[in-house]
């Protein structure tokens, strides 16, 4: 997030797009509801009729997968009507002309055709967002889990810069990051193309700094993103896998493909809390420690670095994971000497400029938001207040590209997924609390009443959903929360593994898969 969760107190208007925080980020959803109650305006762009959508001033029921067209359409109107922030664009950005050129063809009529959003609503939304005030955009996986994910994120940034909504309290572009520490995992360089602190692999000073600090030559060849590992196993270029705390056998798209990849891989190590589906394919399984059994830090979606603390002992011989890495590294001849998680953190802050001013002592009471350049810096609640990281904000307009797998005669329905409030991912953790199962006993296929009528589906009928990749059986829940022509389901139940259906086509930059949309056929069984 460029801004902070607490900023919601100052926001005058929320533009929620591809995000349902009521189930995915409940305590943030709460703050947005409270802001709306206090009088903030709310625009929700979502094919689903979520709770936020029903509370919204404008609910934009978009055709899934058409967000870039929608965003370009807003910018078209804003430019045509001269609503853009001329001062901000002039002083803080560059390549504005590229946007003007590109969005020219995205007339409201053209956009209505693609997105099914009425032209009048496009005008209303564009005028509302461009108006004076602290306006925040929030987005989630409904934006990024597409082959065009990066295009969408860039288009969102274009819109926010165009209207000068960046760098102000209560505004900004605010991706709600999925996992508790996905921000931190990125910050720490658990990425195939950057070292910790987003240091590139090409001849940067930072690269040399890491070689010096780690006292070894580092590889410059870019690595393989997680989503490309499977095809590389099949073509024989990857032979060994070390999987820490992830369960690709259920969580990745097109899991039939993933499972045969795990089967084929010569040597697989899994380090986890449980014998997950993935661990069942492993040659060695290492028992790690849960968040309550070790010291460390997580970095949340607003870049806030916060402590976890050892409260209980790990069960049996399970060990804190940082110790496992240390000991295995020593075994393999690369010596690591850390006595505590804090020792590791001290090394991190000595290398990462964003973390430089953070210490465990400073995190004792409350977390700090990076960048924290010095030990007396209070942390950064709003990014880009004076300038952007690269100096000027660069407009990179993108054309609309249709979804990878359009519906057709054989697979006539769209399929999309989201989170269940009471469960998390595939329930390996939440599933251990009996009360959670009572709240959320199963996943339902949400079918619009129009589709139900047309397909002869009755409430709680068992449905067989089939995509080009696999099949899942679910019971039907007939509700107008789902858009006509689209079936939604939550993906958190192990007995309804929706990733047998999902699509493993990847974004050209981020290599994120098109989780959120594929074509299916539906049969009553």
């Amino acid at each position: 997030m460029t801004n902070s969760i607490a900023d919601t107190k100052f926001t005058d208007l929320f533009l929620m797009i591809g995000s349902n925080p009521d189930t995915s980020h409940p305590t943030i959803g709460l703050r947005i509801h409270q802001a709306v109650e206090r009088g903030a305006k709310l625009i929700v762009v979502d094919p689903r009729k979520t709770r936020l959508a029903t509370d919204a001033d404008e609910w934009v029921r978009i055709q899934p997968g058409t967000d870039v067209a929608f965003l370009n359409g807003l910018m078209h109107i804003i430019i045509k009507e001269e609503l853009w922030d001329k001062k901000f664009v002039a002083e803080r950005t560059e390549d504005f002309d590229d946007v003007v050129k590109l969005v020219e063809k995205y007339t409201p009529e053209y956009v209505e055709e693609i997105t099914t959003i009425p032209a009048e609503q496009l005008y209303t939304v564009a005028r509302m967002y461009a108006a004076e005030g602290r306006h925040a955009i929030f987005h989630g996986m409904g934006i990024t889990h597409y082959v065009t994910g990066t295009d969408r994120v860039k288009s969102i940034a274009n819109l926010a810069m165009l209207c000068g909504k960046m760098g102000v309290e209560g505004g900004g572009c605010n991706p709600l990051r999925g996992q508790n520490n996905v921000q931190g995992a990125c910050d720490m360089g658990a990425l195939f193309n950057t070292l910790p602190g987003y240091a590139g692999l090409e001849g940067s000073d930072m690269f040399e700094r890491y070689e010096k600090a780690w006292k070894t030559k580092l590889p410059r060849r870019p690595g393989k993103p997680a989503t490309e590992v499977w095809e590389n196993i099949f073509n024989g270029s990857i032979r060994g896998l070390y999987i820490f705390g992830e369960d690709p056998a259920v969580a990745d798209p097109n899991i039939a493909h993933v499972q045969s990849g795990l089967e084929k891989c010569d040597f697989v190590v899994v380090q986890d809390l449980f014998l997950t589906e993935t661990a069942k394919y492993a040659d060695v399984v290492l028992p790690g420690a849960s968040f309550a059994e070790k010291d460390g830090t997580f970095t949340n979606t607003e870049r806030r670095v916060q402590r976890i603390r050892k409260a209980v002992n790990p069960p049996g011989e399970a060990r804190p994971d940082w110790q496992i890495f240390r000991d295995l590294s020593n075994k393999m001849g690369y010596e690591l000497r850390y006595e505590s998680a804090e020792d590791v953190f001290e090394e991190i802050r000595s290398l990462l400029p964003q973390y430089k001013g953070i210490s465990y002592a400073r995190l004792e009471e409350v977390g700090l938001q990076w960048p924290v350049p010095t030990e007396d810096h209070p942390g950064t609640s709003v990014l880009h207040t004076e300038s952007f990281t690269r100096g000027k904000g660069l407009f990179i307009p993108e054309e609309y590209i249709p979804p990878v797998e359009p519906t057709d005669a054989e697979y006539p329905m769209y399929f999309t997924t989201g989170r269940d409030l009471a469960r998390y991912n595939f329930s390996s953790m939440t599933g251990k609390t009996a009360e959670i199962a009572e709240i959320s006993p199963e996943a339902f296929a949400e079918v619009n009443p129009v589709d139900a009528e047309r397909l002869g589906i009755k409430e709680l009928d068992w449905l067989k959903l089939t995509s080009r990749r696999g099949t899942v059986k679910l019971r039907a829940n007939i509700t107008d929360r789902s858009q006509v022509g689209t079936i939604f389901t939550t993906y958190n139940h192990l007995d309804a593994l929706v990733n047998f259906l999902t699509l493993d086509a990847l974004d050209r930059l981020s290599r994120s898969p098109e989780y959120k949309l594929c074509a299916i056929k539906v049969e009553v069984v």
Binding site: Q179, G184, P219, A226, V284, I308, E365, R423, T430
Partner: protein, 825 residues
């Protein structure tokens, strides 16, 4: 413009527009209130926050009164206290429930019985043992020999039968032994103080255990070659097997206690020696091992044995010839064990002789029944007058007894019936007429001579602080009280340890548990049967026991212990009388603080409302509701509807009803704000009474919001999760996952050992081997295909430190940039 006002004589500068309560709270001045939360009060205000404002005739409610410049406020006075007491008495008068369960209150050791049963129900056996050991370090022995005071008060008796509490205690202890559980009980920082404990029985070991836990350097001086005292030398194997006792004493000694065996007090050392050696205090726990002798003619004949000595001989393996028939004189527990042991030593007929009726025997009736089943016979209302040799056998002359006229206290003492003599002939006589601490005095030196002794030949020690007549010397257990149960000895030793700790450190004693208690009825007669509506009969699990005719053939344990399923079934029978909000109840806290005597002013007598378990994570008991409305006012979602039908003459709500609306997101915030136990988390069934709990801050392991959590930890178990209202980023808010979905931490499905694939199967292995296998395979792949043939997936759920190390490992030890995680997934 800030305002200036005076509270309790101190000048305070405050923001204008705040209430007096706000101003006081911000200035750290405590004004009691029950209903104020988030700036809102109950529709039926608690009326506790009243203060005196100078110039006002009546009290002002500080939550409603805006502070004004120049105000003079008094928050505490006799009149205010009286008003608050009156108001609390009214509020308490309808509150209906048990603070502590009757089992807990009845246990001499005040064990958190309901708590450990709840742990059993949840499968948390090690935590059950840790909870027991907070107050009783002898779960194995007490779990086998306790007379079970608790079970006599178990309310389940009113439904069917009491819960088999003690068998559960034994089960969890045995389970931990069988599963080699390391209990990891913490010891406090070393104090440098040295404490001598004389006697390594239950009293001495208990005292040593709690003193060592407090960080003192403790040495036990034991006269025998092994620890255990009466448990080893007075209770036979068939009740407490030796290997179990060894395990138990070892467990206690692991707290870091030194021991000197074969050191007899008064022979090998005396109290002065201990002082000279620098011990800061001494605890006497020598037990009562000196037999009260049978004082009749012939009592010195060689085949007349005395109980304590007899049992000791069995324990150390000293053999005697006992013949075919034996008489045991006396009716105490030890007499029963002597009789049962004689059977096991091959004596065919054993008769117990006692001078009163069976119901009046001091032995536990359960033990008498067990003895009877094994074939022990009884001659009651008879007393020996002479023993004589009868051709190698012993002739025991008896006189028959009857109960005399009641004395001035109404007690009828037995008296001999004139001319009623009779006799039996036996091979062996064992006399068990009770045991004393000493034979009139303790030998050893000057200090020993100064040790005051009671007429019953026990050590005199203050019942308040366990101090003897010698400064710095404390005494506990049977050497003070005469023979009592193990749990009673344990209690006195634990309390003495607390006193000794205070004596050697100068620190205040840990406060005793407050006796304040709401109860649904002190005695069974007072308990309304409507409490048990809808509870189905479910009889207790029967302890698997060896058949008596087989059991008497050896000294192997008679009772075999519950299976895990039996333990679970039995734990599920617990009615959970005690309040699981015990540790957070504000009503109780205020009643105690303001010294409201609810026994006089009254409490609810019978249930008015039916408990509501329909919510998935919250159970509701409106019998405890005081209509403070904090649940409604703390709910961020406006998802609760609390209503009342009327307000009575005492200004109390009646006909209360609570509904969760459809928009409830199960976040549980209302429970954390409930002022009593009216709302409870279904996952939190272990009541925490006066036991200490740790609170540890952490960050939620689920979504990217990064909510701050407060983990409530007891021993090695995450008991409950809540949050703190003042901390970013969530400021107290949590979702259902953040507050409830943490059972995975203690899940039985957790991986506890490294696994390696062998012949297609994943099998347990050592860390060393797992690392070797990984290193070998990664090296092989690297040398054959290059480092880029290995890829790593890091974890967006793990910490920064771990992600940093995983990528560092891949880039250095492996040498590839094939490292990624699910950021794009």
């Amino acid at each position: 413009m800030p305002i200036t006002l005076e509270i309790n004589g101190s000048e305070i500068v405050a923001e204008a527009g705040l209430t007096i309560l706000d101003v006081a709270q911000r200035s750290g001045i405590h004004i009691p209130t029950l209903c104020h939360v988030n700036g809102k009060n109950s529709d039926v205000p608690c009326g506790l926050c009243v203060v005196e404002v100078a110039g006002q005739e009546k009290f002002s409610r500080s939550c409603m009164t805006v502070a004004i410049d120049g105000m003079q406020i008094t928050t505490d006075s006799k009149e205010l206290t009286q008003h608050r007491q009156d108001r609390l008495a009214v509020i308490s008068s309808t509150h209906f429930g048990d603070c502590k369960a009757p089992c807990n209150l009845t246990c001499p050791g005040q064990l958190n019985v309901q708590g450990y049963i709840a742990h059993v129900a949840k499968g948390e056996y090690a935590e059950a043992v840790r909870l027991i050991m907070e107050r009783n370090p002898f779960p194995f022995s007490v779990g086998r020999v306790c007379p079970r005071f608790c079970e006599t008060r178990c309310r389940r008796l009113l439904v069917d039968e009491p819960v088999s509490i003690n068998h559960l205690k034994r089960f969890v202890a045995d389970w931990c032994m069988a599963n080699h559980v390391d209990l990891k009980i913490k010891r406090e920082k070393l104090t440098g103080k040295r404490i001598a404990v004389i006697g390594g029985g239950p009293g001495g070991l208990t005292g040593a255990y709690y003193l060592a836990q407090k960080g003192h350097n403790v040495t036990i001086f034991e006269a025998n070659p092994k620890l255990g005292g009466m448990l080893r030398y007075g209770i036979p194997d068939y009740k407490i097997p030796r290997h179990v006792l060894d395990y138990e004493t070892n467990l206690i000694m692991r707290m870091g206690i030194s021991v000197r065996l074969n050191q007899k007090w008064g022979v090998d050392f005396n109290l002065q020696d201990l002082k000279d050696q620098g011990y800061d205090a001494t605890l006497l726990a020598t037990g009562a091992g000196v037999d009260q002798k049978l004082d009749v003619p012939g009592c010195h004949l060689p085949r007349v044995h005395h109980a304590a000595q007899y049992l000791r001989d069995i324990a150390v393996g000293t053999k005697h010839e006992f013949g075919q028939t034996a008489a045991v004189v006396g009716g105490n527990n030890i007499a029963m064990e002597c009789a049962r042991s004689l059977l096991r030593q091959g004596v065919a007929n054993v008769t117990v002789i006692f001078h009163r009726a069976q119901e009046e025997m001091p032995a536990n009736q359960r033990v008498i029944r067990e003895a009877t089943k094994e074939g022990i016979q009884f001659i009651l209302m008879a007393s020996p007058v002479q023993v004589s040799d009868d051709n190698g056998k012993m002739k025991l002359d008896l006189v028959r007894m009857r109960l005399g006229e009641p004395n001035e206290r109404g007690t009828r003492h037995p008296e001999a019936i004139p001319n009623s003599s009779t006799s039996i002939t036996v091979d062996t006589v064992v006399s068990s007429l009770g045991q004393m601490a000493c034979d009139g005095s303790f030998q050893g030196g000057e200090l020993e001579n100064g040790l005051a002794i009671s007429p019953k030949n026990t050590i005199k020690a203050s019942p308040r602080d366990f101090l003897t007549s010698v400064n710095g010397v404390y005494a506990v257990g049977d050497c003070v009280s005469g023979t009592r149960t193990v749990i009673q000895t344990v209690v006195s030793a634990r309390k003495a340890a607390n006193n000794i700790h205070s004596f050697v450190t100068g620190e205040a004693k840990d406060p005793a548990d407050d006796r304040f208690n709401f109860t649904r009825g002190k005695s069974f007669e007072k308990v309304s049967m409507s409490n048990f509506d809808g509870i189905a009969i479910k009889l207790r699990e029967k302890m698997p026991t060896r058949p008596p005719e087989i059991a008497v053939q050896d000294f192997d344990e008679v009772k075999l212990g519950f299976s895990e399923q039996m333990a679970k079934n039995e734990a599920d029978r617990c009615l959970s009388c005690g309040c699981t909000a015990f540790d957070r109840c504000d009503l109780k806290k205020l009643d105690i603080d303001l010294k409201v005597n609810i026994n006089k002013t009254g409490m609810g007598l019978k249930p008015v409302y039916v408990k509501d378990e329909s919510h998935p994570v919250i159970s509701v008991d409106l019998n405890k509701c005081v209509y403070c409305m904090r649940c409604v006012h703390s709910c961020d979602y406006d998802a609760l509807e609390l209503t009342q039908k009327g307000i009575d003459k005492n200004f109390m709500a009646t006909g209360i009803s609570l509904k969760f609306k459809d928009n409830c997101v199960n976040c549980g915030n209302c429970v954390d704000h409930c002022s009593t136990g009216a709302l409870n988390k279904k996952t939190s069934i272990v009541p925490l009474n006066y036991e200490k709990m740790q609170e540890i801050r952490s960050t939620c392991p689920y979504c990217g919001a990064g909510c701050q959590l407060l983990l409530k930890v007891k021993g090695d178990t995450l008991m409950e999760v809540s949050s703190e209202d003042h901390l970013a980023p969530n400021y107290g808010a949590l979702c259902v996952k953040g507050r409830f979905a943490h059972n995975f931490v203690q899940s039985k499905e957790r991986l506890t050992k490294p696994l390696v694939r062998r012949h297609g199967q994943l099998v347990e292995t050592t860390w060393e081997n797992a690392f070797n296998v990984i290193a070998k395979n990664f090296f092989d792949i690297k040398s054959m295909y290059g480092a880029d043939a290995i890829a790593g997936f890091s974890c967006a759920r793990a910490s920064n430190e771990e992600n940093y190390l995983m990528q560092k490992f891949m880039r250095t030890a492996i040498g590839t940039n094939n490292i990624d995680h699910c950021a794009r997934l």
